[in-house]
């Protein structure tokens, strides 16, 4: 039929009713909201206050599904730290043989106290990066503050690492590590590491939503990260030229700090020299890492918060 024309009204439609139940239609736009960092942070805190139960349930879910239908079950929590320690022992044995020196227990203990936090950090990056995309079903269907997804993946990882942490704590006395007042640094260092891991998880989960290859970049980084972070080796072993650069990795001072506080009983507010005499630990290293952890978390959270309303369209 050629007579079909777009101009002929197909139907005598009711005109839009301005009166009655509905608002009259208009195109007025509300004033653009000024965003401030403080305002955003307050919003995030306000939202998260109402999400306690949701965070708890999502964390429980992440923990449960990891241990359900799993061959290793709870042993998973120990696998990565154990693998790091074993690999580290192999490297240390080789180095000791090459230099003709004896491998002692304190070196082993120093490595073990760094292996579990490193495994925690690696786990956070892995699960945190995927946390938004792997919950696509939720992100596109149901509203809730999206921050809870990376947060609960970090919390689930924290639970895993606590298992490893308890084991290390039990083992340390057998490696000849004694208690000292410097142990008070441990909660501070772990808290900073946790905040930094959360910051990175927030940042990477958002980045991975926009660009899917971020996940693979993280894999590459994690594969080689252990060589540029003093986990298996201690920072002084890299020598006076490389060690200061290595300490610029925000994780490095935290791991080295743990070793110094637990194994060496060194007060972290005092500089410490390497055996060869050059100073490798400076008190500002601690402030440097703290700045990364806290500043990074604020920056990542604000960035995340400002773009989260677009997630459902992009994912």
């Amino acid at each position: 039929m050629p007579a079909a024309s777009d101009t002929t009204p197909l139907l005598p439609l009711e005109p839009a009713r301005p009166a009655g139940a509905y608002l009259s239609e208009h195109t007025e736009e509300p004033a653009t909201r000024r965003r401030s960092v403080v305002g955003d942070l307050r919003e995030i805190v306000e939202e998260m206050r109402h999400c306690g139960d949701l965070v708890q349930q999502l964390t429980l879910r992440d923990i449960r599904i990891r241990y359900k239908q799993a061959l290793l079950g709870f042993a998973w929590a120990l696998l990565i730290p154990a693998a790091v320690v074993l690999a580290g022992m192999a490297v240390r044995v080789a180095m000791a043989y090459a230099s003709g020196r004896h491998l002692d227990n304190s070196q082993l203990a120093g490595m073990a106290v760094k292996a579990v936090p490193w495994a925690f950090f690696v786990g956070c990056l892995n699960t945190g990066t995927a946390s938004l995309v792997s919950n696509k079903q939720l992100v596109t269907k149901i509203y809730f503050p999206r921050e809870v997804l990376p947060l609960s993946s970090v919390l689930a990882q924290t639970f895993d690492s606590l298992v490893g942490g308890v084991l290390i704590t039990v083992l340390l006395p057998f490696l000849g590590v004694r208690a000292s007042w410097q142990l008070l640094w441990v909660p501070v260092l772990l808290a900073l590491l946790w905040l930094f891991a959360l910051a990175v998880a927030l940042f990477l989960s958002r980045a991975n939503l926009f660009f899917r290859d971020v996940k693979y970049m993280v894999q590459v980084f994690l594969t080689f990260g252990i060589f540029v972070t003093p986990v298996i080796l201690d920072a002084p072993m890299y020598g006076p030229r490389v060690a200061p650069i290595m300490m610029l990795n925000p994780v490095a001072p935290l791991l080295e700090g743990l070793r110094l506080a637990i194994v060496t009983h060194h007060g972290l507010l005092e500089p410490l020299a390497a055996p060869a005499g050059w100073p490798f630990w400076q008190p500002w290293h601690l402030a440097y890492s703290a700045a990364w952890a806290i500043g990074g978390l604020i920056a990542a959270a604000v960035l995340f918060h400002r773009s989260e309303r677009r997630f459902a369209e992009v994912v």
């Binding site: 007579a3 197909l10 009711e14 139940a21 608002l23 239609e25 208009h26 079903q137 149901i142």
Partner: protein, 406 residues
């Protein structure tokens, strides 16, 4: 802001526009960098205007739903219904305008989206409940009710991946149905589970809707919309094509679907009005339809100038078709006409649409449609079935009534 309270529970959609992009987003650094530079340089489209390849999924949509109102949103696929729902539920952010829900929202949308297959039904109730905004202690308190409503108590400790899709949906609905919302938003959720569960689910929605909450619902089941909604908006291309009561908008919507299917030669005949003698009629009783129109061209012998059709809103199928040509009523001269059609409403209770139209009787090609009207048929339950046969019953012979136990 116009009508409505300032602090009560309500849904407000105020001049909302939503832009989407055809084709792909920036997917890599190579695309992102030039776009960012352009934006920084102040060129390229600003976020609120249409750029190349953009389109408006929702245009200038405004409505307000206050307690006691149930708003139905209808429209063809792609007309913007889902986008509107996602804007309402804060999943999308409006490009322009403002939308807000005042009050605790319960959404009957994607009722099992948060389920994880490896977790048991019990674990999933807590998870899904939390995702939908319930507090853990509320879930604990209503846990037994939820399990009972879902009807899958025996499988509550079985991983959800072993559930049938019906069980999955029933558990999801059971959780959503216990949300205690202040504002309810409903998507096409009634098509889950078996008939019995559907009835129970719809009963629950009816109770919630009639308890005075503001409700927004999207559905293709027009009879449900007709039954529940006090107000209906029809969307087309992201714009309001019609708004009003269900009686006003649903006929327009059904007619639109038909009219778009047919090419219409309105130069031959035009209809002005279609009026029912009563909007509600007892099953089996007569109802009169008055159609007014004008013959404006020369109708040939094959033209059916006035066809009458009764359509079920539940199924959308035509149940009865007749016309002036079939009935031998001459109607072909140029000029205005008024025709009265009397029908026996031999139909089961429900909502029906009475439509008029003109067509070519050989090709069945419609060339004009009239305004249609919604007819509600009621019955106190005197029969069951798909057609009213006007049964009457008379006792011819029977044993004399005696006291029981004789």
């Amino acid at each position: 802001m116009a009508a409505g309270t300032t602090n009560g529970t309500r849904v407000v959609f105020d001049g909302v526009w939503k832009k989407f992009r055809r084709g792909e987003h920036h997917d890599s650094l190579r695309d992102l960098l030039p776009a960012t530079l352009k934006r920084l340089a102040g060129r390229g489209p600003s976020g609120r205007e249409l750029g190349e390849g953009d389109f408006w999924a929702v245009r200038n949509l405004s409505f307000e739903v206050t307690p006691g109102q149930t708003l139905g949103i209808i429209g063809a696929n792609g007309s913007g219904k889902s986008t509107t729902l996602k804007l309402l539920t804060r999943i999308y952010e409006p490009t322009r305008g403002h939308c807000a829900i005042h009050g605790r929202v319960g959404t009957l949308i994607e009722i099992s989206a948060g389920f994880h297959g490896d977790l048991t039904g019990r674990e999933n109730i807590f998870l899904q409940g939390a995702i939908m905004g319930m507090r853990s202690h509320e879930i604990v308190r209503r846990f037994d009710e939820i399990v009972e409503f879902s009807g899958i108590a025996d499988f509550i400790d079985t991983p959800v991946k072993r559930y049938s899709s019906g069980m999955n949906a029933r558990l999801g609905f059971a959780i959503a149905a216990h949300l205690e919302p202040e504002v309810l938003i409903i998507d096409e959720v009634l098509a889950v589970g078996d008939l019995k569960f559907q009835e129970r689910a719809f009963g629950r929605i009816r109770d919630l809707a009639r308890s005075g909450l503001p409700v927004v619902m999207v559905s293709h089941q027009l009879d449900r919309i007709a039954e529940l909604c006090t107000d209906v908006i029809m969307l087309r291309d992201g714009q309001v094509a019609a708004r009003g009561t269900a009686d006003e908008v649903i006929p327009a919507y059904v007619g639109q679907v038909d009219a778009e299917r047919a090419a219409i030669r309105s130069e031959l005949i035009a209809f002005d009005a279609l009026v029912l003698s009563a909007p509600t009629v007892r099953s089996g009783a007569p109802v009169t339809v008055v159609v007014e129109g004008r013959v404006t061209g020369d109708l040939d012998e094959h033209a059916e100038p006035l066809g009458i059709q009764v359509r079920s809103l539940r199924s959308g199928h035509p149940l009865f078709v007749t016309g002036s040509r079939r009935l031998g009523v001459p109607l072909g001269r140029r000029g205005p006409f008024t025709v009265e059609v009397t029908l026996q409403a031999n139909l089961p209770p429900g909502d029906y649409l009475v439509e008029a139209g003109a067509q070519d009787s050989r090709t069945l090609q419609a060339f004009a449609t009239a305004p249609s009207a919604l007819l509600r048929v009621t019955d106190p339950g005197s029969f069951r079935g798909t057609v009213q046969l006007n049964a009457s019953m008379r006792v011819v012979q029977s044993a004399p009534t005696t006291p029981a136990g004789d």
